[in-house]
């Protein structure tokens, strides 16, 4: 290869380099900062350079920290419960509302409204609805002559309460993605299934759900990633309590940094969460890539045939 052609091949990289560098610094610096901080015994009053380097001590201590482990468990449980419920309800609603009836468009718009409200507002709203005496739920129960429910003051009920709030806000996300997936299904395949004798349920089970699967898996992973990071709703509604019953990880991190002033420990916690989310993200990318590759391979094979 001549020098000139070598240079030609390099030219695009030279032009791109400044932009890539800038992006890399802007993206990676804060993350690097956090990773570095997790190896320090660092107080907010200190300049980061003066903080004591403690190696993996923060990480190891956390491993043995009962409260951290519990909050990790609460987060896992929360994510699993809300995402399962949201998937079930969102997909179910989409299947139900995927039809051409008068007023459907308006109904669909109403269904996605919760998603557009700021989580902090959602938290406040539900907190007042859960209020032990003047909240709508307990007042209604009372008017029916039933005992009030200790929504936010009992460990189990408060977990249920935040789950309901999250499901209320985020089911619409699954709903619109599922609806979009449903509406882009090949109509003639569904008609063929109808002529093949499939009932409504059989069409859902054998045709619609399998064909929606790629979208559903992406929706599931996106929601999981989000559910692991939930903060505001829980912060406003229960502040993690009573006890540690709703102390999700973000809240624990927030508290560790804000109240206990242990920035290094908070950073280490964040990194545990980051690792978990990265695993999920990698799964999503690998899955997407696999779907794409498969589609590309099938297309290529079909063209050869």
């Amino acid at each position: 290869m001549t020098t000139a052609s070598k240079l030609n091949r390099l030219t695009p990289y030279l032009f791109l380099a400044p932009a890539v560098l800038l992006l890399a610094v802007a993206l990676l610096y804060p993350i690097g900062y956090m990773i570095y901080a997790s190896f320090l015994d660092w107080r907010p009053s200190q300049y980061i350079g003066e903080a004591e380097f403690v190696g993996f001590r923060n990480y190891i201590n956390l491993w043995n920290d009962e409260a951290f482990r519990e909050s990790f468990g609460v987060t896992l449980k929360f994510a699993a419960v809300v995402v399962s419920l949201e998937m079930l309800l969102g997909v179910g609603l989409a299947l139900l509302l995927d039809r051409k009836l008068r007023g459907m468009a308006a109904l669909r718009t109403i269904f996605i409204l919760p998603m557009m409200i700021a989580p902090i507002v959602v938290g406040l709203m539900w907190r007042y609805m859960y209020h032990p005496t003047v909240g709508i739920f307990n007042r209604t129960l009372k008017s029916w002559g039933l005992d009030p429910i200790p929504w936010l003051s009992d460990g189990t009920w408060s977990f249920v309460a935040v789950v309901i709030a999250d499901v209320w806000q985020w089911t619409p996300f699954i709903f619109i993605l599922s609806l979009a997936a449903l509406q882009s299904l090949p109509q003639s395949a569904l008609e063929a299934a109808e002529l093949d004798g499939a009932t409504g349920w059989q069409k859902i089970w054998h045709i619609k759900l399998p064909l929606m699967m790629p979208v559903l898996i992406v929706a599931l992973l996106l929601r999981l990633i989000d559910a692991f990071k939930v903060l505001e709703v829980v912060l406003v509604m229960t502040n993690g309590g009573p006890g540690l019953s709703t102390e999700i990880l973000s809240l624990r991190i927030f508290r560790t940094a804000q109240e206990f002033q242990e920035l290094g420990v908070a950073a280490a916690m964040s990194n545990y969460l980051l690792i978990l989310l990265m695993i999920l993200t990698v799964i999503m990318f690998v899955y997407n890539k696999a779907v794409e590759n498969r589609a590309a391979r099938l297309r290529a094979e079909a063209q050869e045939a």
Binding site: A189, E191, E194, D196, G197, L298, A302, Q303
Partner: protein, 360 residues
């Protein structure tokens, strides 16, 4: 097999009426082709029969039983779709056996049936593949196979060959014709391609703008078209239509127009007695011209374009201002520009009322 009867069946989408009330009978065991240009209502008719569209009025009877209240799945129909409509996530065996599996047919029976049909259609080696791994022609066969496995009383085809290239379409047409002769089933076949209609149909129903123009055997439609539309739609290249007026000369009836003066067959005389001096449309098939001037009435045509096809050519000519297509048997191409003399076989001429377009 049931006899299928449409009685005053109509269909509107909102304010748009796509099918005015329509009567149609499909005889037992017959291969009926619904043919017409796009938008003529043929696909809608088929989809109403399949139960994929609700009718807006009238009733369809299978033998004497009304079926408009029945869901598609209860009508005992199998259908081949234009885009094949295979289930993308199932392999070919699963695609073909879907209906049988829903009916909880024993596995062994399913396997036998699928294998038999797959072998018949030469797709036996593809059973493990997914639809996306097949070529267009193979998918078409699978779609056909999925319908055949069903053993339904009536088969519906919605333009099944229109997504194939010309060569494959010809091949599949022949195979369909074979299948038609071996299967004793009702078959209803929708197409816009008159060649498919002519080669496959026991009976052809020509539709235009939602209205049935004519029903009949391929031969009837070709030789005795009811009107100008059918005459122009059936036959390839298409029939030439020329404005003319009727004149009587020495007891003979002539059609006279710009550049031609052709005697009409005697049989037409009585039909045309009210039309003297009135304007008519004269229909001449491209195949009615002969280079042997003596075989018919002479006519002079100016050659504009010669479409050389090998064994024959289609000549685009002008007679006065009117364009005339001529089918010309000749193994060598013609030079354009000159004036050619032809003989017209006058017994093949057709006359249409210029206003009603009815054949006279």
């Amino acid at each position: 097999m049931p006899t299928i009867r449409f009685e005053q069946v109509e269909k509107s989408f909102g304010a748009v009426r796509v099918l005015p009330p329509l009567d149609l009978s499909l005889n037992d065991g017959e291969f009926t082709v619904l043919v017409g240009p796009s938008g003529c209502g043929k696909s809608t008719t088929l989809r109403i029969l399949a139960g994929l569209e609700e009718l807006s009025g009238g009733e369809i009877f299978f033998d004497e039983n009304p079926i408009s209240g029945l869901a598609s799945k209860d009508r005992d129909l199998a259908m081949v779709f234009q885009d094949y409509a295979l289930y993308p996530h199932m392999n070919i065996a699963k695609n073909m056996s879907f209906a049988l599996r829903l009916k909880k047919t024993p596995t062994a029976e399913i396997e036998t049936k699928v294998k038999r049909v797959a072998d018949m259609l030469n797709i036996g080696h593809l059973l493990d593949r997914k639809p996306a791994e097949l070529s267009g022609g193979q998918r078409q066969r699978v779609a056909m196979g999925r319908a055949l496995v069903r053993d339904a009383s009536t088969f519906l085809f919605d333009e099944p060959l229109s997504n194939l290239d010309a060569k494959l379409r010809g091949k599949m047409r022949t195979e369909l014709a074979e299948m038609r002769d071996t299967l004793d089933k009702n078959m209803v076949y929708v197409t816009h391609d008159q060649i498919e209609a002519m080669t496959l149909g026991d009976r052809i129903v020509v539709m235009s703008e939602g209205v049935i123009q004519q029903e009949g055997t391929p031969e009837q439609l070709f030789k005795e078209p009811a009107n100008k539309f059918v005459a122009g739609f059936i036959g390839s290249p298409t029939m030439n239509f020329l404005d003319a007026e009727l004149v009587s000369e020495k007891g003979k009836l002539l059609a006279r127009g710009d550049g031609f003066n052709l005697p009409l067959p005697k049989e037409l005389t009585s039909n045309l007695k009210d039309y003297s001096k009135r304007e008519i449309t004269l229909g001449v098939r491209p195949s009615s011209f002969s280079t042997d001037v003596k075989t018919g009435a002479p006519i002079e045509l100016r050659l504009v374009v010669s479409e050389y096809l090998g064994a024959q050519s289609t000549l685009v000519t002008k007679c006065g201002e009117a364009e005339i297509l001529v089918e010309h048997e000749s193994s060598s191409p013609m030079k354009t520009g000159g004036v050619l003399k032809f003989g017209v076989r006058t017994e093949e001429l057709m006359v249409f009322d210029k206003e009603t377009e009815r054949r006279l």
